[in-house]
């Protein structure tokens, strides 16, 4: 029998059966399908193969070991090229600390304040004439409960305390944005 491609010997289009199996759509001709051995065979085969696709999709794909480190190593390289540095002049040579690192110190200091759940921080020179004085911009997510302004003041206090001690820079100002308040049960 000469059967057109993509049609069963009974004339049913393979296309319709694929839609039926993959979309769980109703049969276009249930009376015929219930009696037709060609349709029954095709539906059985298509259902089995579709289950294979679903099985492949459900198969866990673990993240390869070291992938995060590789990604971040490359990003850190790029970030290092873009970042500016703060210079501490010394008798035996200069020490450069990147503003990104100073921002990280401010971020970690902010996280020590109870009620601060997340912080990001940016440090930049306040005035070209005095590069040792830095302006900080912090964004926080805080817990539900503590007063936001008291918490912001506590963050300013720890940043003021840590930055000069750990980096030698001085803090010109600290702008704080509360980006979010976590729900009470978080």
């Amino acid at each position: 029998m000469n059967v057109p491609e993509d049609r069963l010997p009974c004339g049913t289009a393979l296309d319709d059966l694929v839609t039926q199996v993959t979309e769980q759509a109703p049969s276009t001709d249930p009376g015929h399908q219930a009696q037709c051995p060609y349709c029954q065979t095709a539906l059985h085969g298509l259902t089995r193969s579709w289950a294979d696709i679903r099985a492949l999709a459900a198969e866990p794909v673990p993240v390869p070991a070291g992938l995060t480190a590789r990604v971040m190593s490359r990003v850190r390289e790029l970030a290092a090229r873009m970042t500016t540095t703060f210079v501490l002049a010394g008798a035996l040579g200069d020490t450069r600390i990147s503003h990104t690192v100073i921002g990280q110190i401010a971020r970690r200091a902010a996280l020590t304040v109870p009620g601060v759940l997340f912080a990001s921080a940016q440090a930049r020179p306040g005035q070209p004439t005095d590069p040792a004085r830095l302006i900080f911009t912090l964004r926080l997510v805080i817990a539900f409960g503590p007063a936001a302004d008291a918490l912001a003041d506590a963050v300013r206090a720890v940043v003021h305390q840590h930055i000069p001690r750990l980096t030698g820079a001085t803090v010109s100002s600290i702008d704080i944005t509360i980006d979010d308040i976590a729900p009470p049960d978080n």
């Binding site: 393979l14 696709i53 492949l56 990003v75 970030a79």
Partner: protein, 178 residues
């Protein structure tokens, strides 16, 4: 205390140069990015390269990220485009997923199952790239048609058409239907 910080807040932090915020985004999204690359490219090595490239590009483009979009959709868009670029450069070379996932059970059954899944992987790899991308995002990532259309910059009817053609081709070549 660990808090589930919204992606957009992490993006704001990363934009300000906070690498820890960006690393949190990487950890949060790398599994889906790698999975899409692997299903698109059928090669672990290429998928790892594309995953790395996706996040590097995302880092470089943080300033252009529009906050009304979801970060996940934005990353899906980058990884899909990068994967399509790699496929275009690869031309006719066939590479198949060389990972060996662990399976429990009767060795004969496991072997048969592996062969069947390998056949599906081979047919996926033979699909035209635009169909493959749509099918991967739909069947492997479970995304709605609207989101796939946004990721691939086309319309929902076009996506539905691509996915149907992809399903038809894969099933036609893997199923015993005659």
């Amino acid at each position: 205390m660990v808090v589930d910080v919204d992606d957009r807040i992490l993006v704001r932090g990363a934009r300000a140069g906070d690498l820890d915020a960006f690393e949190t985004l990487v950890r949060r999204h790398q599994a889906s990015v790698y999975r899409v690359a692997l299903r698109m490219l059928a090669s672990d090595a290429d998928a790892q390269d594309v995953t790395q490239d996706t996040f590097v590009r995302a880092w470089q483009a943080l300033g252009r990220f529009r906050e009304q979009s979801a970060v996940g959709t934005w990353l899906y868009r980058i990884v899909t485009r990068r994967s399509l670029d790699v496929l275009a450069a690869r031309r006719h070379a066939t590479v198949l997923d060389d990972r060996q996932p662990a399976h429990d059970g009767d060795p004969a059954t496991v072997t048969e199952q592996r062969q069947r899944l390998h056949a599906v992987t081979r047919e996926l790899a033979a699909l035209p790239p635009d169909q493959r991308a749509a099918l991967v995002l739909r069947e492997f990532e479970g995304l709605p048609y609207e989101q796939i259309a946004e990721i691939l910059d086309t319309t929902v009817p076009a996506i539905k058409g691509r996915i149907h053609r992809a399903r038809l081709t894969v099933l036609k070549h893997t199923a015993d239907w005659r």
